[in-house]
């Protein structure tokens, strides 16, 4: 017979084993990042001698080499510019469209929504070659503006998907009240709907930020001059030129990770709710 006591005892041992397994996996997930961070403070000679080890001092020399000599600073600035521009543009157009799609009744509404959402399944990257020639004719090759437009466009389906899903769960009373008070549609959107959408906008921002910051394929093909490179393409150049300077490579990787680490630190909740957005149907 299993009374409550026996049940507790049966649960405790597996509980310990479970904790142990969780910690082991935590080490696997986090360990490599720790190694990179430690390596970024060590000297090359030290790394070659003992690949795993603690730094002697908090020497920032590697960072300086990566930042200035390897022009990671240029790549970093470009990445910030492109990412912020693209995310802002994407969120702005997606929020307006998602608002209209979820609140207005007009012919073709369902079709239009389906058209946007089908983009979730389309591997946009396969259109790269036409984009390349289109950019060439528009003078957008090798420009940061071109990248901004492209990233904003490819983020539209996901953003509309998330914002529409969120709007569906929102009551319409506030908007109706404002409409009764004589607010126009533009006003209604800006003063009533936008503030209500804020949680969804946060999710979208966080979720567009990382892939845009991280993207490698578009700049690899569309950029030519290294002073416009974003971090990922810049890193391939950096890894080619500084292949033997492992310490600087580690430092460069850390620099590339900082903005994402900040985002992660401040927005874990949004990230988790975004990852599970597909589940609520």
């Amino acid at each position: 017979m299993t009374g409550p006591v026996a049940q507790v005892r049966r649960r405790r041992l597996p509980g310990l084993a479970a904790q142990l397994m969780l910690w082991i996996y935590a080490a696997i997930a986090f360990g490599p990042l720790v190694l990179v961070a430690l390596g970024s403070f060590r000297s090359n000679a030290d790394i070659l001698q003992r690949p795993v080890g603690l730094p002697d001092s908090l020497d920032l020399g590697n960072y300086l080499r990566a930042w200035e000599t390897a022009s990671v600073s240029t790549y970093f600035t470009n990445s910030i510019l492109v990412t912020v521009g693209a995310v802002a543009l994407c969120v702005a157009v997606s929020a307006t469209a998602a608002y209209a799609l979820s609140r207005w009744r007009f012919p073709g509404r369902a079709l239009l929504a389906a058209f946007f959402l089908s983009g979730l399944m389309i591997p946009a990257k396969l259109g790269l070659l036409p984009v390349f020639y289109m950019f060439q004719s528009m003078g957008l090759i090798d420009t940061r503006l071109g990248l901004i437009l492209l990233y904003a466009a490819s983020g539209v389906p996901f953003s509309i998907f998330v914002i529409m899903g969120f709007m569906r769960g929102l009551p319409t009373e506030l908007e109706e009240a404002a409409r009764l008070d004589g607010a126009g549609e533009g006003r209604l959107f800006v003063s009533v709907a936008l503030p209500l959408m804020r949680p969804a906008l946060a999710v979208v921002t966080v979720f567009q930020f990382a892939p845009t910051w991280n993207d490698f394929f578009y700049p690899l093909v569309l950029l030519r001059s290294s002073d416009r490179y974003t971090i990922p393409v810049g890193l391939t150049r950096f890894f080619g030129e500084f292949a033997t300077d492992r310490a600087a490579l580690f430092a460069g990787l850390v620099i590339a990770l900082v903005p994402l680490a900040l985002i992660f630190a401040f927005a874990t909740r949004q990230i988790i709710s975004g990852l599970t957005a597909g589940m609520s149907r």
Binding site: V93, A124, L128
Partner: protein, 289 residues
């Protein structure tokens, strides 16, 4: 009217290029000059002419292996971690955060991190193996055709395991406790309870994860590029469709535009088609409460 800016942006830079890619694929090209209309000729050419005729099946096979390996390893570990966290909520938030940390890092950077960690002579991984006495295990992980693809699967799983974990965790949380208690009352073992009660109710999550994994595995490019370069590592052991498309489009011959567009369309049809079928199939097997 509110939809216009989004429509213009999305239409011009996402939909039009895809349609154009299809159109490009119907012509023969001489450099960047559009020559005669060849219908599906490029498709035939891509599939029959050496070396593409051999590279495509190989790359496709690697994508399939990669998908199967990822389902088996990444998603099983994800499910395991989710169950562990669900049963032992202590420190749940902390573990959740740590496990999904690599999620945000660029696949390219993940690739570079691991290529440094796995490098033959001075990499920490081989160093650790030597230190603990497993010297015979130390090897140039990314330099041998036999280990390259498994390493790719593991590194990729390391990065994305947080996704399935969070989805499974959310799904587990949605299952009413009474069901399990009822099963336990009827004398079902813990394993049996999981397999017969909880797992069927996780099918919607399994479906979402399978489709996402499939799309992810067939779109992979950055990680492989960082780990093995645009040729796909030693002897092309990690060559995948994404790399093949890149090489055909930007390092190909005179008819590069025609051939790579045909290739792009085939990849697209494959990914889109299979995801739709998968989704349908998995949805039909869902159990609703």
């Amino acid at each position: 009217m509110f939809c216009l800016p989004a429509l213009a942006l999305y239409g011009l830079f996402v939909v039009v290029p895809l349609v154009t890619a299809f159109y490009y694929g119907l012509f023969r090209w001489e450099g960047i000059r559009q020559a005669e209309f060849v219908g599906l000729g490029n498709y035939g050419e891509v599939l029959t002419r050496y070396p593409l005729s051999e590279e495509i099946p190989t790359a496709l096979w690697h994508n399939v292996l990669f998908f199967v390996g990822t389902m088996a390893i990444q998603n099983t570990i994800g499910l395991g971690l989710a169950v562990l966290l669900y049963r032992n909520p202590r420190g749940k938030r902390f573990f959740q955060t740590v496990f999904s940390l690599p999620y945000l890092i660029s696949p390219l950077i993940v690739g570079y991190i691991w290529s440094l960690l796995l490098s033959p002579a001075f990499g920490p991984v081989n160093f650790i193996l030597r230190t603990v006495g497993l010297e015979s295990w130390a090897r140039p992980w990314l330099g041998e055709p036999d280990t390259a693809l498994p390493v790719l699967i593991l590194v990729n799983a390391w990065q994305w395991v947080g996704g399935p974990m969070l989805i499974f965790l959310a799904a587990l949380g949605g299952i009413p406790r009474e069901l399990e208690e009822a099963a336990a009352m009827d004398g079902a073992s813990a394993f049996r309870t999981f397999w017969s009660v909880r797992f069927p109710l996780l099918m919607p999550a399994v479906g979402v994860i399978t489709v996402l994994t499939f799309i992810g595995c067939f779109n992979i490019f950055d990680l492989v590029y960082a780990l093995g370069g645009s040729d796909g590592g030693p002897g092309g052991a990690m060559d995948v469709l994404g790399l093949l498309y890149y090489r055909t489009a930007f390092e190909g011959g005179t008819n590069a535009i025609g051939e790579s567009s045909a290739l792009a369309m085939m990849i697209f049809a494959c990914v889109f088609g299979v995801s739709v079928v998968l989704e349908r199939f998995l949805r039909r097997r869902e159990v609703t409460l």
